[in-house]
């Protein structure tokens, strides 16, 4: 009797197993990606718009360099040097305030419409009028909703002028014009989709109106970004027919896909996966120092941290080289200045190292011979957590007892922006490729009150620096590039000693690439990873 039930179940299980095996056996094997298509795995969840007037972070900002043109862009060979893109030539008036641009003739948008000076002027005006997050990169030259139509205007079909409110360093102005916010959009096409005077904002958020070597075919949030060749492009046509970004959040998953050849490039690998990839003969890695720095901020509202000796002592309590070799392996190099390498005026003076005795002496001088207790807010992801734990260990040796408060990225950021932290580990990416972007936030704090209009990182750490603010303001007006570089070096000399920022590392961007991919190189700034140069063999 028991046997019969056994048989029934046996049959059932056997049947299921058989079905599974048959089903699996019939499935196709994984194939390599098509030859004219580049498949890239990346985290796509910080991409929230495709409108150049709004795009700032994430992969959508990265692809702007491929799908839109601007007056000037970074050179393909030296991605920190601006070269003409749509502009044929430009000049500055003797008073240093008016820039005149001549456009290259005969250029068309992907739509087929011609690129005119009116498109360029309107695109810049549109960014100012819409006033989204990156608009300040342009509005810092004195453009407002009311005056921008006079300040930036087309003077002929292929010529336009731009007038700034002060005589800024031309390098500063031109550098800012390489930013994504200065991308040129197809006025006719965008206005055809205008809704209630929104300048096409609702439409362009998820659509495309550019003239770059690649064009946007489709974007599905958190899933996929698909680009394809723009056959109307004025320069050398893209070697690839298609580029697909796939959202793959997990590093181990990215690695598996890469090893199998289901993707060609992995952009989000953790150090341990990069180690493994380096050993695979079919794969290679490519690294570029990025315009991004990691730092520890010491809030000056905390009376202990506000003492100059304590600030300095903390800088001697970090084991920079040990972190570089472990947590930051492949992904960062020590940088104790606020300007990342590659920017005008950057410095390689890195005097600090772990020195507990020196730190103890400084703490004793500040009145804390036995150290003190303090909290530290940290995003609960790597490498932040690793940095925090390592710092906690070394600081304890001088009696500084750090309690780590882990939190989600946005949660830590919310607290930071309200300057309610004691200590905090974070990173900072340059907004545009000019030293002023970091000087503006690390070394300028025009108003340290709680109701300040501008709240740079110096404000977030309540560091009141009228003298350094004046120096940074002077540097942005210095028209001689050499003198300007020297001014930033001078500010950083002071900053290293006195600031409440323990500058730690410059980020290295690393991509793992399959061996048959040629010409893939990460750019140092947002939008300078040029995929139109990539090919597969």
């Amino acid at each position: 009797m028991a046997n019969s039930s056994h048989q029934v179940i046996g049959c059932l299980l056997g049947g299921t197993a058989l079905a599974l095996v048959l089903g699996l056996g019939a499935l196709p094997l994984a194939a390599a990606t098509p030859k004219d298509t580049l498949v890239i795995a990346d985290k796509l969840d910080s991409s929230i718009t495709m409108d150049p007037a709004e795009v700032f972070e994430g992969t959508s900002a990265e692809v702007m360099g491929d799908i839109y043109d601007r007056l000037v862009r970074f050179s393909e060979k030296d991605p920190s040097r601006p070269v003409n893109d749509l502009a044929k030539s430009w000049s500055v008036s003797p008073d240093g305030r008016t820039y005149s641009f001549e456009l290259k003739p005969g250029i068309k948008f992907a739509s087929g419409n011609p690129v005119t000076a009116e498109d360029v002027a309107w695109s810049l005006q549109r960014a100012i009028i819409l006033d989204k997050s990156p608009a300040f990169i342009l509005s810092q030259f004195g453009f407002t909703k009311d005056n921008v139509a006079q300040m930036i205007k087309a003077t002929g079909p292929l010529s336009l002028t731009m007038t700034t409110d002060k005589n800024y360093a031309p390098s500063f102005v031109i550098n800012c014009l390489t930013a994504n916010v200065a991308c040129v959009v197809d006025k006719k096409l965008v206005l055809a989709h205008e809704d209630k005077g929104d300048l096409g904002y609702g439409w362009l958020k998820t659509n495309y109106a550019g003239s770059g070597p690649l064009k946007l075919r489709e974007w599905r949030t958190n899933e996929v970004i698909m680009l394809e060749r723009n056959d109307n492009y004025y320069g050398r046509k893209s070697l690839l027919g298609r580029v697909i970004f796939r959202h793959v959040n997990e590093s181990a998953t990215q690695r598996l896909l890469l090893e199998k050849g289901d993707i060609d490039v992995a952009l989000g690998l953790a150090p341990q996966d990069l180690d493994a990839v380096a050993k695979e003969p079919a794969l290679k890695t490519t690294a570029t120092p990025l315009g991004s720095v990691f730092y520890i901020g010491l809030n000056q509202k905390n009376p202990q941290l506000a003492k100059p000796e304590v600030r300095e002592a903390m800088k001697w309590l970090v084991d920079y080289s040990a972190m570089e070799a472990t947590i930051m392996n492949h992904i960062g190099v020590v940088q104790q200045n606020f300007l990342p390498n590659g920017l005008l005026g950057s410095s390689n003076v890195n005097p600090y190292k772990l020195d507990v005795a020196k730190a103890k002496a400084l703490l004793a001088k500040a009145g804390y011979p036995n150290g003190f207790k303090v909290t530290m807010d940290v995003r609960s992801s790597q490498p932040y957590q690793g940095i925090a734990e390592a710092f906690q260990q070394t600081a304890r040796r001088a009696g500084v007892d750090i309690e780590i408060l882990p939190g989600d990225g946005k949660q830590v950021l919310t607290k930071y922006r309200a300057r309610k932290h004691d200590i905090l580990v974070y990173n900072w990416d340059v907004d545009y490729w000019d030293p002023h972007t970091n000087a503006d936030t690390f070394a300028r704090n025009p108003d340290n009150s709680d109701t300040a209009k501008s709240k740079p990182l110096a404000w977030r750490n309540a560091w009141d620096i009228p003298e350094m603010t004046r120096k940074a303001d002077a540097a942005v007006l210095e028209r001689d590039a050499k003198k300007r570089a020297a001014m930033y070096k001078d500010i950083q000399n002071d900053f290293r000693k006195t600031s409440p920022f323990i500058m730690l590392f410059q980020t290295i961007g690393v991509a793992a690439v399959r061996g048959n991919v040629d010409g893939f190189k990460l750019g140092p700034s947002t939008g300078s990873t040029y995929l139109f140069n990539v090919s597969k063999h």
């Binding site: 989204k132 949030t221 958190n222």
Partner: protein, 355 residues
């Protein structure tokens, strides 16, 4: 006499109609209250978590003036009860609002994310219930013997091993080494260009379009995550089946059936399991509902663009329109499946039918 009987019967019919109406009314009342409660709790959570929703819209770099303007535009300066009232009245008009993160209407986002989850959850439940019930029955019949012991270990393993680890190991073995299944993602990139989603249930879409190549590719990507989810629900379902069956097998009617000389197979499958099926339906329905909610870890490891990832990501960014929209969907699923299991109860158990 006949008149009286007729009146009596008519009265009874009216009373039963009234009772039905009252039941329907109270059910609707409970439904509305459940939704209101669900929304109120989620809304409050969204407002007390220490994350500034404006950050998701403007990013960290925006100047203060832009931050202030967007905060005003989003109505975040209004008192919380007013914000809630505005939200509820919008919902009542069928408008779930826009997601801050994806800049799409929440409904559109959910329409895209939910089918991915549904495909996975349905396949997982079929595997979990299809194998879990027979295995549970088997373990109950062979109580204390090796089969039972093996099933206990299998169940414990399914409960206790983290699913992301199992997922990665599964990928390593079946995808990377053996090449039996497709990798992470719903399909190979080549099909991104050829397959047009209609319902979003891509298996269905490809079958309807007669694209059998795509169908096989989709299946090869689905099989591993579905088996994994199926295994976890199998662990639960088989343990529950075993205990329900043990309960039934110790009843007197089983002894009576045995005394009548019925075959053991008939006793187990027709008598005992049929009775055990009644509570089991609820177990299976709830485990299905749990999977439909989306499983964040599985979706992360398998790069599966489903509801779990969508809601989690929204919550981490305080994108409350998306979170609330997702909550309504998940709540509706639970309510719907509970209703369904109630109906099934009545079909399976004559005692719960109303006369």
């Amino acid at each position: 006499m006949t008149d009286q009987a007729g009146a009596f019967q008519a009265g009874r019919a009216a009373r039963s109609r009234l009772r039905l109406l009252r039941a329907a009314g109270s059910f609707l009342g409970v439904l509305v209250l459940t939704y209101l409660g669900l929304l109120a709790v989620t809304f409050v959570i969204g407002r007390v978590i220490p994350i500034d929703p404006v950050l998701s819209v403007v990013g960290d770099r925006a100047p203060e003036a832009v931050v202030a303007r967007v905060r005003e535009e989003m109505g975040l300066n209004k008192p919380i009860w007013e914000q809630f009232w505005l939200y509820i009245s919008r919902i009542a008009r069928g408008d779930l609002g826009m997601s801050l993160l994806t800049s799409n209407p929440v409904l559109k986002d959910i329409k895209r994310a939910f089918p991915a989850t549904m495909e996975l959850a349905t396949a997982g439940t079929i595997i979990g219930a299809g194998a879990g019930v027979p295995l549970g029955v088997w373990a109950a019949v062979r109580r204390g013997r090796w089969v039972d012991q093996v099933m206990r270990v299998v169940g414990l393993f399914g409960y206790s091993v983290p699913i992301f680890w199992l997922g990665l190991m599964g990928l390593l073995l079946f995808y990377a080494r053996l090449d039996w299944v497709g990798g992470p993602g719903r399909m190979d990139v080549a099909y991104e260009y050829t397959l047009t989603p209609v319902t979003g249930l891509l298996l269905l879409d490809s079958a309807r379009a007669g694209q059998w190549d795509a169908f096989r590719n989709l299946l090869s990507h689905l099989v591993l995550p579905a088996t994994l989810l199926g295994y976890v629900s199998l662990a639960y379902i088989s343990r529950m089946t075993r205990s329900f069956m043990l309960n039934e097998l110790s009843q007197e009617y089983i002894v009576a059936a045995r005394a009548k000389g019925l075959s053991e197979a008939r006793i187990i499958w027709r008598h005992a399991l049929r009775n055990a099926m009644v509570p089991l339906v609820t177990v299976i329905a709830l485990s299905y509902a749990g999977l439909l909610e989306g499983s964040v870890l599985t979706e992360t490891v398998f790069a599966w663009p489903g509801l779990g990832l969508y809601i989690t990501n929204a919550l981490q960014n305080a994108d409350m329109n998306a979170v609330l929209g997702g909550t309504i969907v998940v709540g509706s699923i639970f309510i719907g499946l509970n209703l369904l299991s109630d109906v099934l109860y009545r079909t399976l158990d004559p005692r719960t039918r109303e006369r």
